[in-house]
Amino acid sequence: MTSLAEATGHALDLLLAGDAGLWQIIAISFKVSGSAILLATPPALLTAFVLAYLRFPGRRLLISLFSTLLSVPAVVVGLTLYLLLSNQGPLGDWRLLFTQSAMVMGQVVLAFPILVAMGHAALQSVDKRAWETARTLGASLLRAFFMVLREARFGLLAALLAAYGRIIAEVGASMMLGGNILDYTRNIPTAIALETSKGEFAQGIALGAILLLLAFTLNGILQHVQGKGVPST
């Protein structure tokens, strides 16, 4: 086992040298999590909007359901989807287990409640007159929907960043659903877990640094974005 200082030095070398294996892992992470966010966001925003603007029986129940789902551990999401997707499972015929698609599914499930809960809070804080004004100005339902989304854009961006931050660093579901296959389903968190368990710290540290950098960046944007926008009166 190498010393920590040595490993860190080696990690920097790997990053700066543009180590192909390393950057492949990083690319897989961004691809999977990016797809998950793209897939999850439209239905999540629609759900958040419905929860914020329509009154129907069961609405409160749904809201508390989504805030409960926020705290479901990633491994439990992984396990549930694993059971569904495994050969004996009801969706076994889809043959998705240990593919990037399965990882995307897991991350969609993880991102969805965050997007709904935070999106709902953001849309809830938009004055109800915004919707009415849009409609009375002649906007179609779809256009009025986007006009209201725009009013909540900073809060919605915060939701997006929070959801992205969670799924890109998540290890449990990716490990179980992707299987940590090199050059295919090995992403940053599963690679860190594997390398560390083998005592190969350099790559783990390099990837950890990438995640940290990403976390700082997302947080920086979040700080910048929060409190933006002029409140309505």
Partner: protein, 238 residues
């Protein structure tokens, strides 16, 4: 509703909890009319206007816009939202510039947008405010911007909820001037106010909402408006 048509509502009912806010209300607006809607605070003026604009659901009522008859609010809703414009007591301005707010009223692509925007800004005397963030405007400027935005949406009927509340004398004067302009263009106006004397010169007809009933009152400033063709409000079947 085609220009010059009628707007007719009958059997309008609305209750909040145990309180009957609108009790079998009937209302008829004729072309080029300006109607003042009075009633004490909480009488239901805002609720009535919001129902007429298709923004709030009543418990019953039928609607006629021009030649088209709608047996229920639900069926009338789309047409109401199209033809009838509701202006909130505190106008909602979208988070953007004055120009952005005006453009919203023009919808998607439409020819001559720029000319319309310029005309609107001239009309409210706010040409130098084009780039100003709308939410930094003063109360009077907000009200004028809301009126210009409403005008750009070219509704046939405008329902104004307390348009001069919280305005100082000068801003009130300018707002009244703009309302006169809208009326002269043939837009049917209904102005809700619990402070009716400001509008006596503008409105040729006054209705009063009290205990869920609409009563037609003779205008005190009668005779000041030439084109007053208003069919009086009739009481519901009592």
């Amino acid at each position: 509703m085609s220009r010059g048509g009628h707007f007719h509502v009958a059997g309008l009912r609305k209750r909040f909890g145990r309180r009957l806010l609108l009790d079998d209300v009937e209302l008829h607006l004729h072309e080029t009319s300006c109607t003042l809607l009075t009633g004490e605070n909480g009488a239901g003026k805002s609720t009535l206007l919001r129902i007429l604009a298709g923004l709030e659901k009543p418990d019953g009522g039928s609607f006629r816009l021009g030649r088209r008859l709608y047996p229920s609010w639900r069926k009338a809703r789309r047409s109401l939202q199209k033809a009838v414009m509701y202006l909130h007591q505190q106008p909602y301005l979208f988070d953007g510039s004055v120009e952005y707010n005006l453009r919203l009223a023009l919808g998607g692509q439409r020819e001559g947008q720029e000319a319309l925007i310029r005309t609107a800004l001239q009309w409210i005397d706010m040409e130098s405010f084009r780039e100003t963030p709308a939410r930094t405007l003063s109360g009077g400027e907000r009200q004028r911007l809301a009126l210009a935005r409403a005008w750009l949406a070219s509704p046939e009927i405008m329902l104004l909820d307390e348009p001069t509340a919280n305005l100082d004398t000068e801003s009130r004067g300018r707002t009244l001037e703009l309302l006169r302009g809208l009326r002269n263009q043939g837009i049917v106006l209904v102005i809700a106010s619990h402070d009716p004397h400001h509008f006596e010169e503008l409105a040729e007809c006054r209705i009063d909402l009290h205990n869920g009933r609409l009563t037609h009152l003779a205008p005190r400033g009668a005779g000041t408006v030439q084109s007053a063709k208003v069919i009086p409000i009739r009481q519901g079947y009592a």
